[in-house]
């Protein structure tokens, strides 16, 4: 197990070397936070209590959204992007020379990245938002613990989806279409455009059941204490998607490996 820890630590360090990119990214997130606050404030002013959120919930949602965007990798992440590139170029063969499991290797790499980005790309916008607006924070140790678990599971769900998209390159020559599709689905169903709670009827129900909901809407609701079925069932919902996606990822990894080894790529 030591090796995967060592990999995660190196990945964390690697991302910490991109100082200017990180700083400018955090700045961009903060600017977008203010823009979104303007939009959401107008919306909740017109329709108070929309989706069961009050204005403070909506503002907190905005800053958590900006803070989770990069760490969770809603629009993709450098790590799984590089994995996709390696699959396309065939360089993935180099990874097979290593005495490590492909899935665990890339998961460790992604977790190291996510932790660094959570601290900086997550922390800075949240701090900026909290200085300007009156945001909601979890109360009590248990609530904070639930948030930590929820965010961790969100990263795992997102990793599962991104990993599967990257590995699709074993069968599809040009994965750009696949990536575009993943981007659109993720943007909408994670709650990046609007909180999923505002969507009524079956559309809302469907949106909240997708794995993308588990990457952003659900962990933010855990923070706000607004999950319809309570925090426990929210975590179980995430855990379910983690199990399905990582199991799927493992199956696809073995099939892809066999394809490389037997058919020769």
């Amino acid at each position: 197990m030591g090796v995967y820890w060592a990999i995660a630590v190196r990945s964390f360090r690697r991302f910490s070397t991109y100082r200017i990119a990180t700083a400018s990214g955090a700045f961009t997130n903060s600017v977008f936070g203010f823009i979104m606050c303007g939009i959401y404030l107008t919306l909740w002013h017109e329709r108070p209590g929309l989706g069961g959120y009050d204005a403070a919930d909506a503002l907190t949602f905005v800053w958590l959204q900006q803070g989770l965007l990069m760490p969770v990798g809603i629009w993709g992440a450098t790590t799984t992007g590089e994995l996709g590139e390696r699959v396309r170029s065939g360089e993935i063969a180099v990874d097979l020379y290593r005495p490590t499991h492909l899935l665990l290797w890339w998961l460790s790499v992604d977790l190291g990245r996510a932790l660094f980005q959570l601290l900086v790309r997550g922390g800075i916008p949240l701090l900026v938002g909290a200085l300007v607006f009156d945001l909601k924070f979890p109360s009590g140790l248990l609530a904070w613990l639930a948030v930590a678990v929820g965010v961790f599971l969100a990263i795992l769900v997102s990793f599962g989806i991104r990993y599967l998209v990257a590995l699709s390159g074993f069968w599809i020559t040009d994965t750009r279409g696949m990536e575009q599709l993943a981007l659109v689905l993720s943007t909408f169903f994670s709650g990046m455009i609007l909180p999923l709670v505002v969507f009524p009827g079956w559309i809302g129900g469907f949106a909240r059941a997708t794995p993308w909901a588990a990457t952003m809407q659900v962990p933010i609701d855990i923070w706000l204490g607004r999950n319809p079925g309570g925090t426990g069932s929210a975590l179980l919902f995430q855990l379910g998607w983690v199990a399905v996606l990582l199991l799927g990822a493992q199956v696809v990894t073995s099939v892809a490996t066999r394809k490389v080894v037997i058919q020769g790529g």
Binding site: G2, R10, A93, L96, R98, V260, V261, I262, G264
Partner: protein, 315 residues
């Protein structure tokens, strides 16, 4: 006991080509009927033109590709069935790719490798100290890999491939793109590792100087077939590549007539003649000097390049 054994190994790929709506499938045999074995501590040069089947062979030896026929044993196991287990006992270097962490200092990559291969810490430290000294890496350990020059990065990659004391190392064009000094240094290092640790080295290269400097054995393949297996001297004498005689005459003349040699090129007053390696140059000189206005001359031995070119052409 051989550390690598191949018996009648072949590998076919299905290539689908498309013309209009018609799809045709045909089978390409990248490696065909390969049989050889390598003893521990051998340094074997594995050469052939692009597309000859070199990479395919290496992939099968490391277990990331299964053969379509025949059997392979490396370090006592079937590579494709025990890929992860075998991975701990072999080292691989690709000249055009790196396995180092691009944005991190070199030493970070080495630290991950210690964990990845479960190398006992004391052993890791002593190996690292040795390689750092031999490859002159001391000043590079704290430098991010992306800032290293190609030669420096290659030294880092070679050290990385050897840190876990592999029994076998596969080097795929390790000197590609390096300058003369870096090449010489790398060859010297590899020779030393081989001598001191009895590491078996399989080297694929287009640089025949690598072969001359390092290899006790050469295997030449073309179109998936072995066309030569033996020593470098054996390779040179196996082919009757002709020697070349270059004569400078006092004036531009039509091709001169000499018994036992043929003019292959006329370049003003300079004429190039070839004659068999087995023949002596002295009688030719006497003939030319007697019949033509000879000013200057030189004789050159067949180069290993010409030997191999001839081998490819005759295969």
């Amino acid at each position: 006991m051989p550390v690598i054994e191949l018996a009648d190994v072949s590998r076919a790929f299905t290539v689908t080509s498309r013309t209009g709506f018609r799809r045709t499938r045909r089978e390409v045999r990248a490696v065909d009927g390969m049989t050889f074995s390598v003893e521990p501590g051998e340094v074997m040069g594995y050469i052939g033109p692009n597309g000859a089947g070199k990479s395919t062979t290496i992939k099968m030896l490391t277990g990331i590709l299964v053969p379509s026929g025949g059997s392979i044993r490396v370090a006592g196991v079937d590579p494709s069935r025990h890929r992860l287990k075998l991975a701990k006992r072999i080292g691989v270097v690709f000249g055009q790719r790196t396995t180092l962490w691009w944005d991190l200092p070199l030493k970070d990559s080495f630290a991950v490798l210690q964990k990845m291969y479960d190398v006992p810490l004391a052993r890791h430290r002593s190996n690292l100290a040795t390689f750092v000294e031999l490859l002159d890496l001391q000043d590079l350990l704290d430098v991010p890999v992306r800032q290293l020059s190609l030669g420096q990065r290659m030294r880092g990659d070679i050290a990385a491939a050897l840190l876990h004391d592999p029994e076998i190392v596969y080097l795929d064009e390790p000197t590609i793109g390096l300058d003369v000094i870096s090449k010489a240094r790398l060859r010297e290092f590899l020779a030393q590792v081989n001598a001191e640790r009895r590491t078996t080295i399989i080297l694929t290269t287009h640089d025949l100087d690598d072969i001359e400097a390092l290899c006790t054995r050469v295997m030449v393949i073309d179109h998936g077939h072995q066309i030569f297996d033996g020593t470098l001297d054996g390779l040179k004498s196996s082919q009757s590549a002709p020697r070349t005689l270059v004569v400078d005459l006092a004036a531009s003349l039509p091709p001169i007539e000499v018994t036992g040699a043929t003019v292959v090129k006329v370049d003003g007053p300079r004429q190039h003649l070839t004659f068999p390696t087995s023949a002596s140059a002295a009688p030719l000189l006497a003939q030319i000097a007697a019949n033509y206005p000879l000013v200057d001359l030189s004789v050159s031995e067949p180069t290993i390049e010409s030997v191999i070119t001839q081998l490819y052409n005759s295969a």
